[in-house]
Every structure is written in structure tokens, then in C-alpha cells.
Amino acid sequence: MFLKVQMPWNVIIPADSLDAKGLMLKKAIVIRLMDEFACKKATKDLGYFMAVTTLESIGEGRVRQNSGDVLFPVVFSGITFKMYRGEILQGVVHKILKHGVFLRCGPVQNIYLSHIKMPDYQYVPGENGIFMNDKHSKIDKDVIVRFIVIGTKWMEAEREFQALVSLEGDYLGPVS
């Protein structure tokens, strides 16, 4: 689910950018904020960081003793993406193995759907293996699949989420 959340942030402006005044300073803060936001990529609580939408407020700057840089506490609104356990989403298949398939959904690149969680689908080996059920519904590369999220895992080092999903439930599976 995409979320619009309000977040506090500390933006540090280097001393040499500070001879600008007023609007230029605000622009410097916004640009730094957007850069840092993009670099951060994701957090465990809020999910993936997409874009800054509005700068709600800029607090008083505090000079940092050693560097002479100034720290501005800001509050801004931004868009994030987070997958919830129990949520139903659509994703795209990008890799098929005999024990399951890997999907992508938005910024999440690492979603696993195990064959155990694909009721009635069997692996059909071949040059390019696929999964198929007895009604000839196919799960192949680039197919859009509607799934339910069983669980998510935050990988601190990579700053990304992995997810486990399932097709157990009505109206889940490949979408034409």
C-alpha cells in the first residue's frame, strides 16, 4: 500500500552554503532533504521512500559545534510504500523455479511464492518451466498475479524488504 506520511527530519546545511538567505536557504534545505530521502531508500517502519511531497515546517537552525554546519529540524510529507501481512496486491512474475516463483511489486523486488502456497498449480518442466493448474491457467514469466501477503522481512543491511506470499484464497492467482 502506498502511504502519505508526515515525518520529522534533520537537514544539515554545510557552513559554506549558508551565506544564502531566505528563499535560497529554503531551496537548499528542500534539495538536501530530497537527496537524503532518496539515499535512505527505506526504513522498517515506514517502508520504501518514494518522494517528498510538501515541506510542512522548518524549525530554527542549530549550529553544530565542530563543523560550523547548521542543523534544521524539518517536518515534511512524503510518500512511502509498505506491504502488510494480509494485504492483497498484484505483482509481476520475474523468475520461475521448480519449488516456487519470484515476483516484483512496486519497489519490492524480492517476493517469493512457494509451490506449497499455489493450490492446484503444478510445475511443468521445460526449456522455460511454468506452473499450471488443471484449468490450464498458467503462471509464467511476466504474468500478473494477485496474491495475499503472508509475511514480510526487513533486511537491515540491504535496506530492503522481502516478502512471502500465497495464492490461498478466493480470487487469487494469475490475472488476465
Partner: protein, 135 residues
Amino acid sequence: MMSGEEEENAAELKIGEEFLKAKCLMNCEVALILEHKYEQLQQMSDDPMNQVSQVFEKSLQYVKRFSRYKNPDAVRQVREYQLAEFELCVLGNLCPETVEEAIAMVPSIKTKGRAHDDDAIERMLNDLSLIKKFE
């Protein structure tokens, strides 16, 4: 180890207090926002794709592909049916065609003693599909 909150379950709208109040966005709304951002970047630089993160790029591709409405404001008017933000967005993204499918996509609309009988859900789905017809 899987997600620490044992009780997190979107099917029952258990997604954490702060997210029940946070604004949820449909894919079509996010598409408008990210496209606008991308245009802003194009004006600022010759090579906007260089400026955007992987997260931004993948997400923009995704929401453009999975947008179902051109007019998200019209969809939000369906809020009179007293859905939680989360529920409205799931319906706006997946566009279930029948009451049965809608309940399968958003089980929480049928739980917790809420006043959503099948007729109300059907009227809501009709309103949503009318919006699409007039786009």
C-alpha cells in the same frame, strides 16, 4: 524471522494505529504525483532518470501499469460508504466486479459489526464502475 508484530493483519484492518490514520494512496493517485515529480526533475536536469532512485523508477513503472482510474478524486467520493482509507484504496486498485470478490479482497468490510450489507457493497461497486465508464 518474519515481521515482529504477530497481530498485523490487513485482512482485519490491523495495520497499526498510525497507519489507520495515515493517508493511503491508490496507484492512480501515486501515478499522478510521481509523474509530476518526474516532470519537475526533467525541467531541472538533462537526464532526469539519473536523478531518480531505483525505488522511484520501479514504483513509477508499477503505478502507471496498475492504475485503474484517470480521476482519483471521483473515486474518493465513494468514501461516503464509510470505508477505511486502506479499504478504499485496495478496492480502487483491484476493481472487484462482484460483491463476493470485493469481500475476498477486503474481508474487513464484512467484519467488526459494520453496517456493510451486501446491498451497500453492491451499490458501492456500481458507483466505482460508473466512474470508470465516464472516464
